[in-house]
Subunit: 262 residues, 2 copies
């Protein structure tokens, strides 16, 4: 199934995408139960929202060897690969939906970069799950753009504005529950209509199953929690007026314009 969250006259609602239409549902398909309503509209008319507001927003961060090596080379340093799947955090204030602008603070520096990522959405509460059963607790998958201002990322003590300024976390456009292999799917970067790079999730240092299993040894994962799986390669800078698309096999395209505040 393909799920979206979209704006209605009565507020946000979940919807099922079938062909070119959105069928509104009542309830919450991720955290509870839902029922189809008789309301439907063309997908092209729907104002899509961030597909889920997570109780906790996890990010695998450094999880691809080439990304680690290329980013270290840019800084003139030796690469340091993680030796364990230590998950980090991002912040809900920064979430924006497909199509919404990445609004860059006026004092941001030139190295403002995309990071195209697969996003895992948890569907069932779990603690202490094995790698073999980990995917049974997944609701579905969407796409994230872990927008990063590298000067702040390097020089601030934390990721608060380098990664989590308002609008720095586009996520969407929708959630796909079937047909995505989270450990073998391709992620492609397209900037202003031009193909830039691609990578496959099979290159991850630690895969989705491993992350879920290891995290659940110490913490409870809840329905709606998201895990952003990290990115590969060395991203390019984004400028005012750019449009950045992240494509993931079996999911679709997350597209956002870049607006630099004056």
């Amino acid at each position: 199934m393909k799920w979206c969250r979209f704006q209605t006259a009565d507020g946000p609602s979940y919807g099922i995408i079938e062909g070119d239409n959105v069928i509104q549902v009542s309830g919450d398909p991720i955290r509870g139960t839902y029922e189809r309503t008789s309301n439907s509209q063309p997908l092209s008319d729907a104002r899509l929202l961030v597909p889920v507001i997570p109780p906790t927003f996890y990010a695998a961060g450094i999880n691809f060897r080439e990304h680690v090596a290329e980013m270290a080379a840019k800084r003139g340093e030796e690469p340091q690969y993680p030796d364990a799947a230590d998950v980090g955090y991002r912040a809900n204030n920064a979430l924006v939906a497909d199509g919404e602008a990445i609004v860059v603070p006026s004092d941001a520096h030139e190295q403002l970069q995309y990071e195209g990522e697969l996003v895992v959405i948890i569907g069932k509460q779990c603690r202490n799950v094995s790698e073999e059963e980990a995917l049974d607790y997944v609701f579905g998958y969407t796409i994230g753009n872990d927008v990063s201002e590298r000067h702040w990322q390097r020089n601030d003590r934390t990721m608060w504005r380098g990664k989590n300024a308002d609008t720095f976390k586009p996520m969407g456009p929708w959630i796909v529950t079937d047909g995505v292999d989270p450990e073998d799917c391709e992620v492609r970067i397209v900037l202003n209509g031009k193909f830039i790079s691609k990578y496959n999730m099979s290159g991850a240092i630690f895969g989705v199953k491993h992350y879920i299993s290891r995290m659940s040894k110490y913490l409870t994962l809840y329905p709606g929690d998201v895990i952003w799986m990290g990115t590969d390669g060395a991203p390019e800078n984004m400028k005012h007026g750019d449009v950045i698309n992240i494509e993931v096999d079996g999911i679709g395209t997350l597209s956002n314009p870049v607006v630099w505040e004056k």
Copy 2:
């Protein structure tokens, strides 16, 4: 006013604490409106819950000079003081209420420590607020215990289990909206009934007003967001069977037993 969140037969509810009683309200006093109901019960009979589940869970972290110096000395390192109010994150999975156990994973190391902290709860959405107007956006204050497993904190790449294992973030017991000066109140640590240490919020490197103002330059704060303000001093280790109390002037006492998993 003194607000709590407590368990009822119909699920969690907010309540007003007046004297020794809790008056149940409908609605949400932090995010919307509320009405008093005719239900009340003795506070001593109420099962208190975490007083707010934050959309984003901020933590000021390193924010007191003595804490920085003493923790560095323990590691045999030179202290490094932060030169800006860079806020970090904690995770909702780790929250527990007053009275609930801090359950320590069986493979945790000996240096399992409390950090008693003032917690700020945002009451109104804000962006770009001055220090002068910052407190106008605060709903109230509560108490947090930023439980930390120092071996994991030092050796993992992130704070995920060193700070955010399930039950490592006691918060409560309630929220006080008046009579607390967040930049001049005393925080006291009492372990197993014995006074251990105290500090005053006036010793913070960056105060509440400064944090709110600086954060809001880059991000929107939302009703229910919490900011844990950091701790002073050098905490002691906690063992199985300990009871750790954090007292804050004008708020009350957050008390939690420590249970080490076998």
